[in-house]
């Protein structure tokens, strides 16, 4: 007869306890992914699919063990749990200090769902194809716009979680990812330029996000930008006041604030691949390191509505939290999980996890991942135009371009989609070959203007990679536009 997912989870936990686990948690996850891609007037890909299975993490003899399998019968779930405990015991032989977990409350009846208004999986493929092909046609009306790709991808992840702490939690997270790129080619084939839809962020929302993104209405503007980039002026390198639109700044926040504030990186746990952090050791930097000016405040959270890392509870049953990472310009706290928070409790006074445990899917172990990390708007009601009018000699940067940063998060170089001169308070010629390059702390400490609440925008990325084997993560970053005083701009073509 049918057995519910909750019952399967509880059977697995019983098996783990019987095998001697001091703690165990189990996730049964079903992930549905649907994608439709187009170029010009063709649909190039139409795919749908569902992957499901169970992953059990067990703590025995002070060490973690993990096993996962797609089988969801009673017997298979119990066997997975028993194997996870066996693995923990094997690992215990090479663990230097036993794992200790910060306390968490029990949630025996937790439920949560992304605040969607229109289920993307209920929308027909024809409606989706029509939307994309119409948008493509609009782009191609622009003289010089030669090629266009557009797509939408939807994800629905249903997780049933239970732990030996007494929590049983069911959550359903949605993601909607619409996108367009227009390519213009010079008539003599000497150059090509692209413009990607940076104003449209991937979001933890439903089909309403695609509708509000209005690809058809904006396609023309993106196509015109791509064509204009062909004849844009190649930038003169030097120091400029750099005004960065949130469609670009969100990624700089991700790379230069989000990553170095992951506690496991700071302590060397990800050195082999993702790297470490300049924000180390904790005792030297918590409450001491000046990240930026006094008006700079950065929050970590997993509860901003519609954001990609927003949940009800993390993958170890910790409820969604919101906390200061940078407060009045000083670095004050990291991102943490139940295992990590005791390492710095003495310094922060915080004894509960911030809820950053996340696994990409049932077949991978949960570990510390970035939550939403956002730069708070300033109190003054400034918008982008105000930053432009206040600038005598600057460069305005919009949209996400190239991005590269070193393994401790010091030295970075970021490009963008569209660049303009700013002269005597006005937008001037379009530029190209622009990148801003420098050091993280120099950059944030050069920030001298910040947009207000009306100018706040939630950007996001779905491709954050960490861990070996690597796991993907999706995360949003909110910010207003900001200005950076006399920062180094290079010409990437020279």
């Amino acid at each position: 007869g049918g057995v519910s997912l909750k019952e399967l989870c509880l059977l697995a936990l019983d098996a783990a306890r019987t095998a001697g686990a001091g703690y165990a948690d189990v996730r049964i996850v079903n992930t549905r992914t649907q994608s439709i891609s187009t170029r010009e007037s063709r649909v190039t890909e139409l795919s749908d699919g569902e992957m499901s299975g169970i992953g059990v993490r067990a703590l025995a003899a002070g060490a973690w063990g993990f096993t996962a399998n797609r089988g969801l019968t009673r017997q298979e779930c119990q066997q997975v749990a028993a194997e996870a405990v066996e693995r923990a015991r094997a690992n215990a032989r090479a663990v230097r200090a036993p794992v200790e977990l910060a306390r968490v409350d029990a949630y025996p009846d937790g439920t949560w769902r992304s605040p969607i208004r229109r289920d993307p999986f209920g929308v027909s493929m024809e409606e989706k194809a029509d939307l994309l092909l119409s948008a493509n046609a609009e782009a191609l009306r622009v003289a010089g716009a030669r090629f266009v790709n557009s797509s939408m991808t939807f994800v629905r992840q249903q997780t049933t979680f239970a732990s030996t702490e007494g929590s049983i939690i069911e959550q359903t997270a949605y993601r909607s990812i619409p996108s367009m790129t227009v390519t213009a080619v010079a008539s003599d084939f000497s150059d090509f330029q692209t413009r990607t839809s940076g104003e449209i962020a991937p979001m933890g929302l439903g089909y309403e996000h695609v509708e509000m993104s209005d690809l058809q209405g904006r396609a023309r503007e993106w196509a015109e930008d791509a064509v204009a980039k062909l004849s844009a002026v190649s930038v003169e390198p030097g120091q400029y006041d750099v005004i960065i639109d949130p469609t670009n700044l969100f990624l700089t926040i991700h790379e230069s604030i989000g990553h170095p504030t992951e506690l496991d990186r700071a302590l060397g746990y990800e050195a082999n691949y993702a790297g470490t952090s300049f924000l180390a050791p904790p005792e030297d930097v918590i409450g001491k390191l000046r990240f930026g000016p006094e008006f700079m405040n950065v929050l970590g959270d997993r509860n901003q509505e519609g954001a990609l890392a927003t949940v009800g509870w993390d993958d170890e049953g910790v409820p969604a939290d919101s906390w200061s990472i940078v407060k009045d310009g000083l670095f004050v706290d990291y991102q943490t999980t139940r295992e990590q928070v005791p390492w710095i409790s003495d310094l922060t006074g915080i004894t509960r996890s911030h809820g950053c445990a996340h696994a990409q899917s049932w077949d991978k172990i949960q570990f510390q991942r970035m939550p939403n990390v956002s730069l708070m708007p300033g109190e003054e009601d400034l918008v982008l135009d105000d930053l432009i009018s206040a600038t005598d000699r600057g460069i305005l940067i919009k949209g996400r371009g190239s991005y590269s940063i070193d393994q401790q998060r010091y030295n970075f170089q970021f490009g963008g989609q569209v660049f303009h001169e700013v002269n005597a308070g006005k937008i001037g010629r379009m530029l190209k070959d622009v990148a801003y390059q420098g050091n993280t702390l120099d950059f944030w400490n050069s920030m001298d203007m910040l947009g207000g609440p009306r100018s706040y925008f939630l950007g996001g990325t779905v491709g954050d990679s960490k861990g070996q084997p690597p796991q993907a993560n999706a995360v949003s970053h909110g910010c207003p536009p900001a200005r950076f005083n006399q920062f180094r701009v290079i010409n990437t073509a020279r």
Binding site: E50, F66, R70, A94, R146, S404, Q408, P469, P470
Partner: protein, 377 residues
Amino acid sequence: MADFLSEAEARDLCDLILAQSTSDGAEVNLSSVATGNTRFARNGITTSGDVIVDRATVTARVGRRSASVTWNDLGTAAIQRAVARADELAVLAPEDPETMPLLGQQTYEQGTGSGWTGAVHNEWLQMTSPRDLAAAAIGKARRSIDAQPIEPGHYTVVLEPTAVGNLVQIIESELDARAADEGRSFFSRRGGGNSIGDAVIDERLTLFSDPVDPDLLTRPFTRQGVPLRRTLWIDTGILSNLAYDGFWAAEQGREPTLRGGGIKLTGGRGTTDDLVKTVERGLLVTRFWYIRPVDRPTLTYTGLTRDGTFLIENGQVTQPVRNLRFIESPISMLGRVEEVGSSQRVVASESGGGGSPVAVPALVIRDFHFTSVSEAV
């Protein structure tokens, strides 16, 4: 528990899946992968995991319409549901004028490799021992203590094979004929068309793919079941081929040529140490990291050195230097080659995992462009 599929089980499942489809035609791609991992950090085990991931993708065809469904529950009911969904979606999909006929029966190269299992070899027992790997890493770390900053600029560099692999693997994704013909690739020719026939890199160098080359040993067919054979991309410096899929090949009156089968660069003999001896003043680079595109028309990328960067003086490694950011083009740097070593398989991926096989030599390259210093250790 659901176990790793045997060949017989996989064949039976494929037959079952195809038999369910009511469309004009269908193709199925079935994989079963057992992976294990153990992670160490701060001198202890942190986590480990074992998982078997099965994945089936069926693509249903109705005339010139097609759609795919991917799933992992291989029970009969789930198979029926998945195939029915693919059939349903295929009917709804718009017609694709570029649809090519389904593949008929094919013959494939017979490779002898087992699955990719280690840092440098397909056979576990032939892999460099973990102890030796660790000793090498520790040695580099010790020699990197107190690294001093060096002035950015153009340098002669000795790139260890891993560093060469990090950059050369980028070239593979650029070898697309359609993008070149459409004017949006490094291999586009001014005035139209692509650069096949042009000298693009040093004449000592040859770049090819071959699924049965002993340094590569990989699957001899694409995900769509198209056979992969030895393909010469760049022959003694001349661009000989670009990838043409079935549709574009037909449009251009050529045979299809597909990417896959790993990537190998050859052209010389010698170890990294041999190459270091030839350099009067330069830098020795272990590997590159966070490599990202900066300018697509010129295939210019930026990234950083990592995990062991040293000054070379009069043919000797003398002292460690701080890591540096570079801006370079993987193709144009191969036109500035001074010396070429012996090819070997490397782990070229950023995450240090498996991935498509890459075999490259150590290289000495002049005028490699470093643009700024990084304090990162």
